[in-house]
Symmetry: C2
Subunit: 639 residues, 2 copies
């Protein structure tokens, strides 16, 4: 579509190169140039274009061919690129105050190129710089020009090794010595080391350090911020009393040097208390969320899915034997179809559960989960292709729903029995009766067994089967072709049907396994709790459908399921470590300092960090900081 | 707890090292050794222990210190480790048939050490090997001993560059030539190259290749499998007519050499058709799921969240100005609280949405999304720390819910007004009225505007606020201390409250932005659709609560929201590319062959793959395969 603004926008917003997307672009109901101008305005578009072009035109920003850069080389490049930003004077104080959106645009543009670069720049200029600027004291303004010409380089040292978010638990101290009018900054032990601080690893010369302020006789006055010099800007060597180093490789953003520091009785002048920085410490009481609530359902899922995987593997071996024995019976063919339907939905369920579980562990471990050495990134990356190979998960789920829909058709047309070799669909015999059932659990105690989700899942599969069938017929009647009809049914019907059916089967097999008489009595309680937790937690993802179809009604049903899940988590809390012990691979195989069986996570972390090369050594490219200072705006004419 | 089996299990299941976890282990309600024995049985535990100990005892399996191995070194090591498994004869044919769970245990143990190793072994022995063994023909059994002694190395070549899962679309051909009794295997073009095949990159000598079978005059007989020799086992150089190479670095599993191959009129004997391998091609019609349905809501989210981020950034600038101007008014303090509440929930919402969106893109791109060069892994890894730094998402959400709960307390206690500088909580003035509202949308058409989710969100926030408040009071009355009370309320109440409040604010601001009179008329439709889609899609994640609290009742409400989402996706389908064009960074910045603006993804992929070093070259360590053949079981005595 033509528009009046298109002409003027052409230099600013040139057309995209021709190619296969041209046909799709032509279908748009609007002019993309008009929308870009409306959303951003010409000024902002011009700024972004200027920044992007400047990056693209400078070989310093060429993407490395042939794989990843070594970490030290990457950090050097990232530093040089950060210095380049200063030389091009892309951000001036006037801009920061007058056009805050330009600050955002610059950081976003740098970030789209590489978030390591945006983070390095942002932490120095805007986090370290603002902390000092916002202190409101003229006595700190001496630092501002030094920040702009990179005479010093800053970082923001809040978090400690064993305390991340919880600012009340921070243990670095600042004792006031009135005789010398100094503060004495001190780290009581290794666990109180400042940790994860961006720019601290190799480049920062100054840190805004948060510490508990103590005065003689006056006790503790809470958390305050101090400017502490940590390295000599001329040599990048650490200042006396400061042990400072690099925490090592992370899952991403490896151009940024995150670091640690311990202070041994480091004295700083009284004036370097930042009197207004208290603003950054938030108010209120903090509660670290119940991490075991986040992870216990995944632990239960590991047990339930492992049992299912074993049992399906044995089913498959039976099928294989039949093939090799040239079994051509109807039962063998039916067994093949049933196993195909189960296997097609197992990979999606297992790979997605694993992906979510690993991410939840990663986040529950905070920053430490993001350290490469702890290998949660490896686990996640190695599991990820399971979502794709041997068939995209969503495509595979159609196999399962097609199988179930064909059973329904058979049942309706011929009145044939729904009996399968592995009995996973036998409950469909009672299809109409099951559809008439409702959630009727008298008390919370009755809800704490996997028979409750089992019954609910049988209803859910019947309901989704009926709905999918109706939706497909309705789509076909309305003139959709087979492709469209299946497509429109897939998202909310067939996909949920396939997952619900598999979850039902997993819950059923684990329920039967944990309720069989041969379970040793001391193990019954814990196994049944796992079974109930997995069943209820999985089921709770379908609560909307349970209400919509009328299986649940009233507030109590949903609340009871939630309360039961929390109760089971609470009952399993004390068993959690032992449950992990049962299934954990040996330390050597796990190879994760925070995951070792001895539980000494901080000792193990330090051990591994200090084993890495050049942890405490200054960067080989230190003269790039110390000698070659940027001349602000020296390259500005190029823009 | 003591148990009779513990004594015998001690050698098999030694105690864990002492450490901080000891106290937690002591709390367990059961003996972990008894559970391990019950679940696995002594035989299986012994097998696993044997495998793990063998790995740990051999320096070949030492974990590399000091960061990641170069890719070629890693692939060599992975090959040597795979050969080691054969030398130790950990899996015999008898075992495969008699104790299938032992096969599973071996693959799992190797996988827990490194999934690259398990995949390499599994693809050769069990996928390639089974395809040949299951063909049921004695004429193919000659390959079996060669598979076991690694005289040949196998891969399974099904997927092609432009067709992954959809087996019907495979375009490699096998024309039968009756004069020579040969099949001629041929790749019609680059897009039909076999692609992503594990073991094919550097090691495989033979491939099970899937191709469309053609006979002279008889047309196409559909997909069949053929054994094709692709490299000379003596030199690992490619066979004539075969172009074979390595597809390069992936997000994970880099010990496995995934490869590509093109066949130029390669002749193989008639006998190398695998007559039974048709079993692996599944039945039924396939539908590639509507990928734009998966991604369009995230595109809408990108627009809505970007607008919100801009507006919040301006609010923050206003706050900053107030600070610098020493504004000590009540309004300035209130503005600080409001922005703190919004910002605390923004990072969780934005970082989780981005994480899910990137993963959805990764999966929607299939295997190509898993290739490192396409950089979806970089995006995911660089976004991931946003879930953690400046505070764990779950901890931050408490800030927001505390703010809202304090407003409710103020309102109840003093009857004070709920008016805030940015007006985000002004709707709470009508708290009791809003709680009485119900979903009343007469028709689907009326549902296609963001005013619908806006109203629903206002109800939802009021409902969650009431519920959170009640739950907190109930917990406190029942004797929980403050920590427990907040903890028990967090999971299902306060966390949802904070997210719902922020989503409401994002929807409201984007609704107002897209409905303002200054929007150019040609852009109105598309912007309002984006606004409605984001609002309804976000809202649909809370459907269970909407039913539970009675805002929704009956089947139609839930169905209408789902239909509206699909309708909006369908309406936005043709605008999708142009909407991406508006916000996309330049190709240079994006640096992703499948993401370039020209849309020539296959050309761009090939261009990048062939730029990598040593793509077509045989591995430098080729004599490790060709000369040093494993003697099966030669090292078995060690176990």
């Amino acid at each position: 579509m033509a528009s009046s603004s298109e002409g003027s926008g052409d230099a600013l917003l040139p057309d995209f190169p021709r190619g296969p997307l041209q046909a799709y672009r032509a279908r748009a109901s609007f002019s993309w140039k008009e929308l870009a101008l409306f959303l951003e305005g010409e000024d902002m578009l011009r700024l972004k274009k200027t920044i992007f072009s400047a990056l693209e035109d400078d070989p310093l920003f060429a993407r490395p061919g042939g794989g990843d850069l070594p970490m030290e080389k990457y950090r050097e490049l990232n530093f040089l690129r950060c210095r380049w930003v200063f030389e091009h004077d892309l951000l001036r104080v006037e801009d920061m105050l007058q056009s805050p959106l330009k600050v955002r645009a610059l950081v976003n543009c740098l970030g789209m190129y590489d978030w390591s670069l945006a983070a390095k720049f942002f932490l120095h200029m805007l986090v370290f710089g603002s902390a000092i600027y916002n202190s409101g004291s003229e006595r700190h303004f001496k630092y501002i020009p030094k920040i702009f010409n990179m005479e010093i380089f800053g970082c923001f040292a809040l978090t400690e090794l064993s305390h991340g978010t919880n600012t009340k638990a921070i243990r670095t101290t600042a004792h006031y010595d009135p005789t010398t009018e100094e503060f004495i900054i001190h780290s009581p032990d290794f666990e109180a080391a400042k940790f994860w601080v961006g720019n601290m690893g190799k480049t920062a010369t100054h840190a805004v350090v948060f510490a508990q302020l103590h005065t003689p006789g006056g006790g503790c006055h809470g958390l305050h911020a101090f400017v502490v010099q940590i390295r000599d800007p001329k040599t990048l060597l650490p200042m006396p009393g400061v042990m400072v180093g690099d925490i090592g490789k992370k899952l991403g953003q490896n151009g940024l040097d995150n670091g640690f520091a311990m202070f041994h009785q480091v004295r700083i002048p009284r004036q370097d208390l930042l009197n207004r920085a208290g603003d950054v410490t938030p108010e209120g009481t903090y509660v670290t969320p119940f991490k075991q609530w986040r992870l216990l359902p995944y632990l239960a899922a590991a047990y339930a899915l492992d049992h299912f995987s074993k049992s399906l593997f044995l089913d498959l071996a039976e099928l294989q034997q039949g093939w090799l024995g040239k079994d051509t019976s109807a039962r063998q063919a039916e067994l093949g179809r049933e196993i195909h339907a189960l296997a097609s939905a197992s990979k999606p369920l297992a790979s997605w559960t694993a992906q979510r579980g690993i991410q939840e562990c990663r986040e529950a471990c905070g920053g430490h989960g993001y350290l490469a050495m702890n290998r949660l990134g490896h686990l996640r990356d190695d599991n990820d292709p399971n979502c794709t190979y041997e068939g995209d998960n969503n495509v595979l789920l159609q196999q399962t729903s097609n199988y179930l829909l064909s059973l329904l058709t058979r049942r309706t047309q011929g009145g044939a029995h729904c009996k399968s070799p592995l009995k996973t669909v036998d409950f469909l015999e009672a299809y109409p009766d099951i559809l008439g059932q409702r959630f009727e659990v008298p008390s919370l105690e009755d809800c704490l067994d996997s028979s409750v989700p089992l019954a609910a899942y049988e209803w859910l599969v019947c309901y989704l089967l009926r709905e999918s069938d109706q939706k497909l017929n309705q789509e076909k009647r309305s003139g959709s072709n087979d492709f469209e009809a299946r497509n429109n049914c897939q998202v909310y019907y067939c996909r949920s049907l396939a997952l619900a059916f598999l979850e039902l089967t997993v819950v059923r097999r684990f329920h039967e396994h944990t309720h069989q008489p041969s379970v040793p009595p001391p193990l019954r309680a814990v196994l049944r709790r796992l079974s109930a937790l997995y069943g209820l937690w999985s089921l709770s993802q379908h609560t909307a459908l349970l209400y919509r179809g009328g299986y649940f009604s009233g507030e109590q049903a949903g609340k009871m399921i939630e309360t039961a899940i929390l109760d089971l988590c609470s009952q399993l809390k004390d068993d959690a470590v032992a449950l992990v012990d049962v299934i954990a691979p040996p330390d050597f195989v796990l190879d994760s300092p925070i995951g070792r069986a001895d539980g000494e996570l901080y000792k193990n972390l330090w051990g591994t960090i200090l084993q890495e090369g050049k942890v405490l050594e200054r960067a080989s490219w230190w003269p790039q900081f110390s000698a070659n200072k940027p001349v602000i705006g020296s390259s500005k004419s190029k823009l």
